[in-house]
Structure formats: C-alpha cells, structure tokens
C-alpha cells in the first residue's frame, strides 16, 4: 500500500512539473487532469470516497472540459507541438522551458 502511495505521489509530481514545462497547452491540460486523477485515487486510500468522487467528476472531468473548450476557442487546440526554431532556441536559453510567448499562439485558428 505504501509503495502504491509513493508511486501515485511521484506520478502526480511529475505531471505537475509537466503542467509548467510542456510547450503544448493541450498537453499541459492533460497533465493537470493526471494530477487530479492521482489525487482522487489518494482520496480513496485516505478513506474519503465522497471527496474522491467529487474530485474525479469535477477536477478530472469538468474542469478539463472547461479548459479544453476554452483552448479550442482560443485557437490553441493543437495536438502536435509545432514549435518554431526560434521558440525552441529561446526555451533552451531560458533553461526553465517556459515559453516566453507562444509565437504561433496568437494567430492560429482551430
């Protein structure tokens, strides 16, 4: 049981770092949903089935849908990362892999 908890916590933290570092915002959103899913499993282990159910329905499902609809409206719904050379270069220079600005995020359509 303890190893299972450790595994879930590691997956959650890795996904949380991915939320901040992935260039593709759709991928970041998926990583946020992974964090939420791991959280709901932890809630079951912590004897809170009510809260786990809420987290699974609300945190994993609904908030993901809300953000995904928003991304689609913003024109950021891209499955593969189409990072330009300049963007990748700037990312390497900053080291933190934070997109300074999404160069194509401002004009792409769905």
């Amino acid at each position: 049981m303890n190893w299972l908890v450790l595994l879930i916590v590691i997956v959650m933290l890795a996904a949380a770092i991915a939320v901040l570092s992935l260039r593709n915002l759709l991928g970041a959103l998926a990583a946020a949903s992974v964090v939420s899913l791991g959280l709901s499993v932890l809630f079951v282990i912590l004897r809170a089935p009510d809260v786990a159910m809420t987290e699974a329905a609300v945190g994993t499902g609904l908030s993901g849908v809300v953000m995904a609809m928003g991304l689609r409206r913003l024109g950021l719904w891209r499955v593969e990362a189409t990072s330009s050379e300049a963007g990748a270069e700037a990312e390497r220079r900053l080291g933190l892999a934070q997109p300074v600005t999404d160069p194509e995020g401002e004009r792409h359509d769905v």
């Binding site: 089935p49 009510d50 159910m53 329905a57 609809m69 409206r73 933190l96």
Partner: protein, 229 residues
C-alpha cells in the same frame, strides 16, 4: 532577477508549509468535532453518510454560501462572455456519427446515474454536487455533438432559480418549525433506507439540480462563444 525572486518565494513557501506540517501528527487526527459528529449524526440526522450529515445538516448554511459563490461565478462568466452569437456566423460542423450516436446513447444513462447518485447521497458516497456534475455532462454532450442546437438558457435559469429557492424554503421551514435555519425536518425514518433522513435528500436534490443547471449553462456559454479569428 525575476527568477531569483520567484525561487526565493518558493523556498520561503516550502519552509512555511513544512513548519505547519511538522506539527501535524499523521494518522492520529485530534478529532474534537469529528468525534461528536460520528457519535451523534446517525441519531440527529438519520443519514448513514456522515459527510452528507455535515454538509447539509451541521454546516448547511456553508453549503448555501457555496451555492451562492457558484451562482456568482456562473453569472459572471455569462456576463463576461455575453450572448452575441449572430445567426449568419460560421456554423461549426457537427461532431460526426460516432459522437452523435454516442451522445444519444449516453444521455439517458448519464441521466439515470446522475439522479441515482443524487438520491442516494445520504446512504452511499455521492450526493448533489457529484450527481449534479454528471447531470451537467448529460446535457452538455449533445451540445458537443450538435453545435448550434444549444441548450435553452431560459429553461436552465428557471430550473436553477427554483432549485435555489426550494433550498432556502426548506431552510426557512426548519426555522418556522421552531428550530434553526436548515434544521432537518420530517421523520428520520429507518437508518439505511432510501426514504429516510428527513429533508436531507430533498436538500441534496435541490443542490443537484442547481449545480447541474448552472454548470450546463456555463459550459454551453463557453462553447457558444465566437471562435477567435
């Protein structure tokens, strides 16, 4: 400079949180209120699920405040985005055969599951919030499959208003009956049966309908916003 500042901020927050956490003894919670709730909830509210007893019985006014916040958030989102979808705007293609038939197939199933979870909130894990989200999903999936059909915002706001009003009316009923606001009324019934726990299932039904209508309206509002060109 900017990154150094944020790094310092993160280190400081970590130290603060660990200072807080080091005082907590994991696995030996000092239950002061919880002990009494666990001992008395079954007699006082008749609910087998003590989380429901806390959410609707002991902290009912808290739930009313939560509903108000949710209502404010949904209304504010509707105000910010507005309903300006012109008729001649670019129509989106529908979701394709799989999504359309899937939506038709899943609509009754999601409806049944959502209502089941709401109505069994006082017996099993679940309740108005979880079931309300599932109801919202049930009404939103057809909107995804057939864009432009849309939900009737007027009907949604009527359902929402009636549910919120009935929550308050049930609360006032407790006040009128000589107790506190939101005091559980009616017969407690037998512990563990569907019709038991007095007014708690009615309150959860109101919460579920209100949450479902609000979230369905919110999702539809975001979905109907004009795509940026």
């Amino acid at each position: 400079m900017y990154r150094v500042t944020s790094l310092l901020f993160a280190v400081g927050l970590t130290v603060l949180l660990f200072a807080l956490v080091s005082h907590l003894d994991f696995g030996h919670a000092p239950m002061v209120v919880g002990e009494s709730v666990n001992r008395l909830a079954a007699e006082q509210t008749g609910a087998a699920n003590f989380v429901t007893a806390v959410v609707l019985g002991y902290r009912g006014i808290d739930t009313l405040g939560e509903l108000a916040i949710l209502f404010a958030a949904a209304t504010a989102a509707g105000l910010v985005l507005g309903h300006k979808r012109s008729e001649n705007s670019r129509r989106e293609a529908d979701g394709g055969a799989i999504l359309i038939y899937g939506a038709d197939l899943f609509f009754p199933l999601l409806l049944v599951v959502g209502l089941y979870i709401i109505l069994h909130g006082h017996l099993t894990p679940g309740g108005g919030f979880q079931g309300g989200v599932i109801l919202a999903a049930a009404f939103f999936v057809p909107v995804l499959a057939r864009p432009g059909g849309g939900l009737n915002h007027r009907a949604l706001s009527i359902v929402e208003g009636l549910a919120g009003a009935s929550f308050i009316v049930i609360g006032l009923w407790g006040l009128w009956g000589g107790g506190e606001f939101l005091q559980p009324m009616l017969d407690k019934g037998t512990l563990g049966e569907l019709v038991s726990a007095g007014t708690l299932p009615l309150l959860y039904l109101a919460v579920g309908l209100k949450v479902g209508a609000e979230l369905a309206g919110l999702l539809t509002t975001i979905a109907e916003t004009e795509a940026n060109e």
